[in-house]
Symmetry: C2
Subunit: 237 residues, 2 copies
DNA sequence: CTACTCATGTAACACGTTACATGATTTC
DNA sequence: GAAATCATGTAACGTGTTACATGAGTAG
C-alpha cells in the first residue's frame, strides 16, 4: 500500500501529527494524491497496530489534543524496502470522461461540444493550480518539485487532445476515417520532445556559476525553440 | 458509477453476454479501463436487480451456458441521463511512482536511475500497445478511436518528463534550484501544440474527395513541422 | 456571535482486486 | 492428453469516499 509507506517516509523526516500529515497531502501533493480524513486516521491506527509507528506524545495545547506520531525501526525498514522496490506498472487512463466518450455518437453535436468544453475548462483550472505549485516551489530543489513539471506537460498534452477533438466534432469530421493526429504528427511531436531532451542533456555536467551571465544551454534551447515558432508562424500559408 | 452505465451503453447497442462485455473491456478499452471477472458479474447482477437489464436468454450452446443480457427502458433512461451529464472533474495524477519520487533523495543515484529506467521501459511498452490499437482501428471512425490519440500524446509527454528526469538525476543537477523545464520551455511546447491545433482547425469544413491527391492542410502542417525539425537540427551549436 | 481553522476520529458504503471454484470446448 | 479459451460466478480482502460526530481556538 503506497499511502502507508508515504506516511512512513514523512515520519522518517520528522515526527508529526495526523493533522500535519493531512496538510502535507492537501497542499504539497495537491493534484497528485489527495487523502481524506476518513482514510488518514484509520491508516495511522493501522500503522501503529503493525508496529511501524508509535504515538510518541499527546500534547494538550490549550485544550486541543494533539497526537504526535514517530516512526519505529521496523517502520523505517518497511519504508526503505518499499522505496527501493521499482514500480513495475504504469496506471491506466481510467477517466470517466473517456468511458463516456465511447458513446458520444449518441449525443447531439451541441451536447458533445459542451461536454468537451467543460473538460477543457477543468484542464485549464488544473494547469493554473500546477503553475501555482511551480511558483510556490521556485528556488527550491527536489525530486518532489519536478512532479509539477510532469503535471504541466501532461495537462498541456491533454489540452491539445481536447481542443483538437472539439474542433473535429464541431466540423463533424470524425467520420472522415482519419485519426485526430496523423502518425506523422505524432512522430514529429515526438521528435520535438527529443530535441528538448537533447538540450537538457547538453547542459554542462559541472555547474559553472562564473558563466551565469552568459547564454546557458537552456537559454540556447529556448532561443532555438523561439526562432522555430517565428519560422512556422511566418511560413503560414 | 461509470462502469454500470458503460455496460448499459454496450447493451443499448445490442444484447450480449457477460463474456462478450468482458472481451470488450479486455480488447477495445485496453489500457483505459480494465474490468475483472470479480467485478463484472456482480455488476451485471446488480444491474438486473435495479431493473436496468434483463437476462433475455439462456442458451445451452453445446453444454456451455450463456446468459444474454438486454437493456430495459429504465436502463436506457439511466444510460442517457448519465451520458448527458458532463464530467465536472479531471482525475489526479495518482501514480504510486510519483509518491515514491518524493523520497528519491533517500536513494543512491544508481537505485534512482534504475527505477526511472524501469518507468521509461513501461512507458515504451504502453506506447507500443497504443500504436497497435491505432493500427487495429485504422480506417474506422468514432469518438472511441480518438482515445488512442490521447494515449499516445500523454505517454509521449510522460516519456519526455522521465528522460529529462533521468538525465538531471544522472548529472546530479536536481540541486541546481531550477525546474526540469523552464517556464519558457513549457510556454514554447504549449505554443507548438497551439500550432498543431491551428493546423487541425484549418482543415476544410467540407471534405473534398476530389482534391485527395493534393496537399491537404494536414500534409501542410506536417511539412511545416518537418522543416522546423531540420531547422533546429541544422541550427545546433 | 458566527464562521472558519485546528484537531481527531467513526460508520456505512462504494469500488475494485485476487484468489478460488466449476466445467465445457477447442487447439496443439 | 495437455493447455488454452469459452463461460460463469463467489468470498475475502484492500482501498477510498461521504457523512457524521465532537470540541476547542481564533478572526471578523
Amino acid at each position: 500500500m503506497s499511502l502507508k509507506h508515504a506516511i512512513l517516509g514523512l515520519l522518517d523526516r520528522s515526527p508529526r501529527t495526523g493533522y500535519e500529515i493531512k496538510i502535507f497531502f492537501r497542499d504539497a501533493v495537491k493534484n497528485f494524491w489527495s487523502v481524506s480524513d476518513g482514510q488518514l486516521y484509520p491508516t495511522l491506527r493501522s500503522l501503529a497496530e503493525e508496529g511501524w509507528v508509535v504515538k510518541a506524545e499527546t500534547v494538550q495545547d490549550g485544550g486541543l489534543t494533539k497526537h504526535v506520531y514517530a516512526i519505529t525501526d521496523a517502520g523505517r525498514a518497511a519504508f526503505m524496502e518499499w522505496l527501493r522496490t521499482p514500480e513495475r506498472s504504469i496506471p491506466e487512463l481510467k477517466e470517466p470522461f473517456l468511458l463516456k466518450l465511447i458513446f458520444f455518437d449518441r449525443l447531439s453535436k451541441e451536447d458533445a461540444l459542451h461536454q468537451i468544453e467543460v473538460q477543457i475548462r477543468r484542464t485549464d483550472d488544473a494547469l493554473e493550480e500546477y503553475r501555482e505549485i511551480r511558483s510556490a516551489h521556485a528556488g527550491t530543489s527536489s525530486f518532489q518539485r519536478t512532479m509539477s513539471d510532469l503535471g504541466l506537460i501532461i495537462l498541456e498534452a491533454r489540452r491539445l487532445f481536447l481542443v483538437a477533438l472539439k474542433d473535429m466534432t464541431a466540423r463533424g469530421q470524425l467520420s472522415r476515417l482519419e485519426p485526430l493526429f496523423s502518425d506523422e504528427t505524432i512522430d514529429l511531436v515526438k521528435e520535438l520532445f527529443l530535441q528538448v531532451i537533447e538540450s537538457v542533456a547538453s547542459w554542462p555536467a559541472e555547474p559553472d556559476d562564473e558563466l551565469a551571465g552568459d547564454l546557458t544551454p537552456r537559454d540556447e534551447m529556448n532561443r532555438r525553440l523561439q526562432q522555430l515558432l517565428v519560422f512556422t508562424r511566418g511560413g503560414s500559408s
